[in-house]
């Protein structure tokens, strides 16, 4: 049954992956309370479980490694060896090997890992303490044995128990159907203890063997992501169809206002509209996952990094139950890894520095998620040294990103913007942690891909805070339809602040940049027609300006006409449908209620184009 086996192996990979991910977190938890018996039991069971299934599936390296790890975990949970950071390091290292082995299984590359070293080290720890264990004798993991209890109570000695156990073993081997005599029975029969003593011991046994109670698991089923994506796509098509129908029925209503059939159609449309919206929300929710899925990997990462940098860092996580779309989950991990790495590497000071400044020796990083209207807000805040604006400026000049003259006039916010420019990295030396050739520019690009924005707040000596705002879902958005040169474009409504009408005569040019003064505020402008190569001016004496807001920076987009608001389903554009010159300005395409294909403008990219122009012109 090759298919069946494939499916089982697939399940094994998915489940083991979840377990291994959770282990990281459990170990970090364990370091907070090294005596947490329940947690130790769980960790033991997790590794044990993987071993069991791996054995069946013939993943021998996995069996070998989990077995060696399990031996140590067994000793930890039985208190034979203490939980030390060194042992935790070793076990976590072994968990990393397990992840690698699992990766080989997933890739079916037939590769093996060299486990000699890790196995040897695991066995070393395992061996060290083995003498002291054998002395403690037959310790049962789950229930205290009657013999042990009687021994502790001083009723019998260990020899008596040993003898009784042997008797029992022999009895079991010779008697087939009857259950073998109990230790208590043997001890009473041989006159070592009284029946009352056994009863008392049994009562104690019952007490110490109370099962642990945990909340019941949730009722869930696993569904292939592809199926969910299919459903989401279909709902997207349905929304497009609904939008068209809405348009048609409202046209019909305008044409035949008193027709009862049309009224009935409109009522039905209203109902269909409502149901489609509900369905849309329901489907999107099936794709929502808790950010916990991403946050979970950070305690381990912070722990490892802090240890390797010889710093004390505490990670506080809140709001991990906040739900976001799956695609957000998939794409937010890398930016967060980068920001957190930076915080540990550059933000948090060494113990000595912190002490000198009267800060607690343990630095803290706060990672939180919360919902803010239609957005989710993810914050990473450290209490480290903060960002040095002067240093950033110097670096910017050094790297040729700005001229010394520009550096003089940059505002604090603008200085921070430099961090996100390609080719910028403040790490004086490339460490194995931060300097991996990926800079904050990649962070910004990734967040931009998610239609999100990033903002930095920093104070010297106090710390730095990164605020990342992301839309809850990416597939369906509200847009403002605008027209330029008879072509319709969609601007995501989330970026639109307001629309204004201005006489062309009030548009000024400052430093080659067109601007207007809007209620005392100078607003840079960009002509949509120019961006897309239609030529800038349409000759009319008044302009419509869409004021948009991108990461706290406002600018205006000049268009020929405003067409109104519409909910659209974003479709990715594949292939070379648009000239490469403009493709980066486009976030996707959609079909309107009128059945027209419309391009959706990527405001962040327009902003970047504008910013580049500004710097060139300055």
């Amino acid at each position: 049954m090759p298919d069946e086996m494939d499916e089982i192996i697939h399940d094994f990979i998915v489940e083991s992956d979840e377990i291994l991910e959770s282990l990281d977190e459990k170990f970090v938890e364990l370091e907070k309370d090294r005596t947490d018996q329940q947690l130790l039991n769980e960790i033991f069971r997790d590794v044990h479980t993987i071993k069991g299934a791996a054995g069946f599936l013939g993943f021998n390296q996995m069996v070998e490694l989990t077995h060696a790890t399990e031996n140590i975990l067994k000793k930890l949970k039985e208190g034979q060896i203490p939980v030390t950071p060194e042992i935790t390091d070793l076990i976590l290292e072994s968990v990393d090997y397990m992840k690698r082995l699992l990766e080989h299984i997933r890739e079916k590359d037939g590769q093996e890992e060299d486990l000699t070293d890790i196995l040897a080290r695991l066995k070393e720890i395992d061996g060290q303490e083995s003498e002291s264990i054998s002395a403690s004798g037959h310790e049962d993991t789950d229930t205290k044995k009657i013999g042990t209890i009687l021994e502790e109570d001083g009723k019998v000695n260990s020899e008596d128990v040993e003898v009784a156990l042997k008797v029992q073993e022999v009895a079991r081997d010779s008697i087939e159907t009857e259950s073998p005599p109990r230790i208590g029975e043997i001890l009473t029969a041989t006159g070592k203890v009284s029946e009352d003593d056994v009863k008392e011991a049994l009562r104690k046994q019952g007490k110490s063997a109370e099962p642990e109670h945990k909340p019941q698991k949730e009722q869930t089923i696993r569904v292939d992501v592809e199926r969910l994506d299919d459903v989401l796509n279909l709902v997207g098509e349905l929304v497009l169809g609904r939008n068209r129908l809405l348009k048609i029925s409202s046209n019909l209503e305008a044409r035949y206002p008193d027709d009862p059939e049309i009224n009935a159609l409109n009522e039905t449309m209203a109902f269909l509209n409502l149901i489609t919206t509900d369905l849309q929300i329901a489907v999107m929710r099936t794709r929502m996952q808790q950010v916990k899925k991403v946050f979970n990997k950070f305690p381990r990462m912070v722990r490892d990094l802090a240890r390797s940098r010889d710093k004390d860092v505490e990670l506080l996580i809140t709001g991990e139950e906040t739900e976001v779309d799956k695609s957000v989950i998939e794409n937010i991990a890398d930016p967060l890894v980068h920001i957190i790495r930076n915080a540990i590497d550059h933000g948090i000071e060494t113990r000595e520095e912190r002490k000198e400044q009267g800060k607690p020796e343990t630095g803290s990083i706060r990672l939180s998620a919360s919902q803010e209207g239609n957005n989710i807000l993810i914050e990473v805040e450290d209490d480290g040294r903060g960002i040095d604006h002067e240093l950033i400026k110097r670096k910017g000049v050094e790297k040729g990103l700005i001229s010394p003259a520009q550096a003089e006039v940059l505002s604090k916010e603008e200085v921070l913007e430099l961090l996100f420019m390609p080719g910028f990295s403040t790490a004086a030396e490339v460490t194995d942690i931060s300097g991996r050739g990926v800079g904050m520019d990649v962070v910004k690009t990734n967040i931009g891909k998610l239609k999100g924005s990033i903002e930095i707040k920093t104070e010297r000596g106090k710390g730095t805070r990164f605020l990342i705002r992301l839309p809850l879902t990416l597939a369906i958005i509200q847009t403002l339809m605008v027209e330029v040169n008879s072509e319709v474009y969609a601007i995501p409504l989330s970026s639109v602040v307001e629309t204004v009408r201005f006489p062309e005569s009030e548009i000024r040019t400052v430093n080659h940049q067109e601007v207007i003064q809007l209620r005392g505020e100078v607003l840079p402008l960009v002509r949509l027609g120019e961006l897309f190569g239609y030529g800038g001016r349409n000759g009319s004496s008044t302009s419509y300006i869409v004021v948009v807001d991108e990461g706290k920076k406002k600018f205006g987009i000049i268009v020929d006409r405003l067409r109104g608001q519409e909910e659209v389903v974003i479709k990715a554009i594949e292939g070379d449908l648009i000239s490469t010159e403009h493709i980066e300005l486009i976030a996707g395409a959609t079909i309107t209620g009128e059945g027209r294909v419309v391009l959706i403008i990527d405001i962040a990219m327009v902003m970047d184009t504008l910013a580049k122009g500004e710097l060139l012109n300055a």
């Binding site: 049954m1 069946e4 086996m5 499916e7 089982i8 399940d11 094994f12 489940e15 083991s16 769980e42 033991f44 069971r45 044990h48 479980t49 071993k51 069991g52 299934a53 054995g55 069946f56 599936l57 013939g58 037959h138 049962d140 993991t141 789950d142 229930t143 156990l165 029992q168 073993e169 079991r172 087939e176 159907t177 259950s179 073998p180 109990r182 063997a209 099962p211 642990e212 109670h213 945990k214 019941q216 698991k217």
Partner: protein
Amino acid sequence: MFDQNMRILVVDDFSTMRRIVKNVLKQIGYSNIDEAEDGADALNKLRSRRYDFVVSDWNMPNLDGLEMLKQIRSDEQLKGLPVLMVTAEAEKEKVVTAIRAGVNNYIVKPFTAETLKQKMEQIYERLSK
């Protein structure tokens, strides 16, 4: 041997393991199989309908295999139910505990279809004596 149509309950907290055990059971001709994800879930299922055979893991959250076994043996309705315990390795002490608690047989994982068949035959023979 047991009736090929008998209803079997496979108890394990790891769904991959449940699938593996089901697969092995199918190989030796049993296909009427239900699953439970821990001892507590299993007891609920056992009390709600009739089962003829239980294959259970040992180490599970909520209620482990041993506790489940004890409760089966002390339940008027269930006490005669054959239980085969799956253990990770031949840990003698654990096996002794299980036998004392009334397990019909135990099997060490990983096991083959052949071994499982053999163990089930042993249980059947002892029960029919």
